[in-house]
Symmetry: C2
Subunit: 426 residues, 2 copies
């Protein structure tokens, strides 16, 4: 699995004040850990040191964010009147910044919006890319607020060897997958940088505002840029930061500066929003709030996340039922024993078993999932049987998305991507 | 006089291939001269070591550009069928890159365009700002080609402590002064970055293309950026470079990549276009050609250029006849002797006399100008008399511009600044 794949989403995370930020920037730095046994987590590299993957408790401490506690999940359920999404109940969205502030606003009837995104590096999205969008969709329904989705085609252009046109084409294809998750057109604005920057002067003005507030030194500390990086990359964080400010979307929020956003994203995007949170107050904006997910692991194991660059590490939304079956049977890392006899005697290890881990992301029924875990741990359930459950589950999920995607025409994409008012009045 | 004033125009200069460029970048560097007695010339600092001002011959060598020879001026006259402009005849536009290539194209009937600009840092433009525009107007009439004028309001926002709105307001005010020079609306497109980037996706796409091709190291070598500079500044050279490519103006040139530009500008802007020339071939564009002017000196002397940041160094286009008279009488550095007797005996020094230097820029009659020089040098003409000639000349020039400017309404500015086809077919 390559470690240069960017972001399973383009949304991300944020953090406290200047002092805290500078300290955290240094600690997290360019993903170069301060101690040799630390995991590497930044927008371009995710690599854990243990078979069970990233140590997220350590990461929370290093990044300076807060754990999502059961109490906080309960409060969210109470305020929204909806049972928590499995991704939240099961701790896959495990960390946050300022979620309490957002819940306070919801209680007080004050507006906020959701912001997430994706770096469109390939035509086909994989299951890992789905995770933040599935959760975002649930958040949108639970909170009933506007959602903006950034497709950073310019980022992919800057980091990969693509033409502008290729990057734009990927963005449109990815938009179709995202729309196929079931977002509401009246509440959702999807935009790709290469187009939207050229459509909305207010967006570029916010980009300039942010780019004036961040020194090369800070960008270096936060993202690990070096002297031989191009000036486009060095400037790019301003572009992922700008959608955190409501004034970047005058067609939705008019000129209101006082509407904060909540960003559901994988934790590797945290540096962008840590940086944004640092500059927000001095620019007169609320800090963006965040909810971080853990990574969707590669088929080969939890040390790294699923990557579109390695075909065999990923299940794509374009895969056939047969391809899904073959990939899981052949590549999904097993926590079981080498023989049936041994497995019956010793049981399997769900913490490293990829099939079980995937079920945690996608299997809705809590009770049945607990039973699967018990049976696999005791040795009652064999690896082949566990894989069969996962295969059936993913075949169903992917088939549903393919069915919906078939209805997403270029015209539908254009509607989602046209700057316009949403159904909310500001 | 402050030395932080930027650019008496935003257009500028260019240069050979990679090897040459890297060498020149290092030599010219951040304006930190390789020897202590070298002049400092870059987009942010212009400071000569001698009273006669910058040593332009040395600068040509250091920057790796070519001198505009009398033969080249003759060829230009022959091809355009027009007598050379005084600014060209008198060597104020003294250096070039690839002007021969542009003349070849003109002879062959192949298209090119003119590109110049200005960093709108103040509401009132001064005489120094006028120089490139007066010359550009003449070039446009001589060649009959499209002209694009960039107002880098984003640059001023990044470098100065302005709000976006203040920078935009300066741009509109400056556009009025520029229009008052007499440009033809059918042939001229004026644009300010804060608006145009948000109007034209193709422009941002070219900016991204350039920003991907330049490393921080190269930008550092060329502009002297440091680690504590903001990422907006570090990225900005891509934005001044992008108008060198015809595809940044699809409303004028459609999708044609093969139309080069000629940039009349003061030589302090050279680093931007040296950099652009280096990346142009690998991006599939012609290198921009350039004609460089020397600086319009401050009233206090030729060591630095006229600056809007120091009121007493500059004559503004908003000054009254009386203010012009007072400023010249009080501040214009004199090359004359301290008493009338001494002056009659020893004569004045035109090389350092600001009044004579200003006449070189604005006095049209070659014969009379030669007579003035002879008489001042011999001591026949006194400093007060020389100043009186200049005062009359500038009062007339400024009054004419003020008269034309009074007719430039917001509506006229909007017409010039609306992306549209010009009278040329591409």
């Amino acid at each position: 699995m390559t470690n240069t794949e960017t972001a399973q989403n383009g949304g991300a995370s944020a953090l406290p004040g200047m002092e805290e930020q500078l300290e955290n920037m240094r600690v997290s730095g360019d993903g170069a850990p301060s101690e040799e046994d630390e995991d590497i987590v930044n927008p371009w590299t995710v690599c854990g040191k243990s078979d069970a993957g990233i140590d997220y408790d350590k990461l929370i401490k290093r990044f300076g964010c807060e754990k999502i506690t059961p109490e906080l999940v309960e409060r969210l359920e109470r305020i929204t009147g909806k049972p928590a999404h499995p991704l939240l109940k099961r701790g896959i969205f495990f960390s946050h910044r300022d979620l309490k502030f957002i819940l306070d606003r919801k209680e007080a009837g004050k507006p906020f919006y959701l912001y997430t995104g994706r770096g469109p590096s390939s035509h086909a999205m994989h299951l890992g890319h789905l995770v933040p969008f599935m959760f975002t969709k649930w958040l949108q329904e639970a909170f009933d607020v506007p959602l903006v989705i950034q497709l950073t085609d310019d980022e992919k252009f800057l980091w990969k060897n693509l033409t502008v046109e290729e990057a734009q084409k990927c963005a449109v294809e990815n938009a179709k997958d995202i729309i196929a998750c079931g977002f509401d057109k009246e509440k959702t604005f999807i935009f790709a940088d290469f187009s939207y920057i050229g459509q909305c002067p207010a967006f570029y003005q916010n980009i300039a505002l942010i780019s004036r507030s961040i020194t090369f030194n800070q960008a270096k500390g936060c993202f690990g840029f070096g002297d031989s990086d191009c000036i486009g990359k060095i400037h790019f964080p301003s572009i992922e930061a700008a959608p955190c400010f409501a004034t970047s979307f005058p067609h939705i929020f008019k000129k209101r500066k006082d509407i904060p956003c909540l960003i559901p994203c994988a934790i590797d995007q945290d540096p962008y929003f840590r940086m944004t949170r640092d500059v927000s107050p001095k620019l007169g904006f609320h800090k963006p709030a965040l909810m971080h997910s853990s990574f969707f692991p590669a088929l080969q194991g939890a040390k790294t996340k699923m990557s579109a660059s390695d075909e065999n590490s990923a299940i794509f939304l374009t895969d056939t039922a047969n391809q899904i079956k073959k990939k899981i049977n052949k590549y999904a890392f097993s926590g079981g024993q080498t023989t049936v006899e041994e497995h019956r005697a010793l049981g399997g290890n769900c913490d490293v078993d990829i099939s079980y881990q995937y079920l945690r992301f996608f299997y809705e029924d809590d009770e049945k999932l607990a039973q699967i875990k018990e049976d696999y741990t005791s040795g009652k359930l064999l690896t082949g049987e566990l894989k069969a459950i996962l295969i059936a589950e993913l075949q169903k999920l992917v088939a549903e998305i393919q069915l919906r995607r078939a209805t997403v025409t270029d015209g539908v994409v254009e509607e989602f991507m046209t700057p316009r008012a949403l159904k909310y009045n500001f």
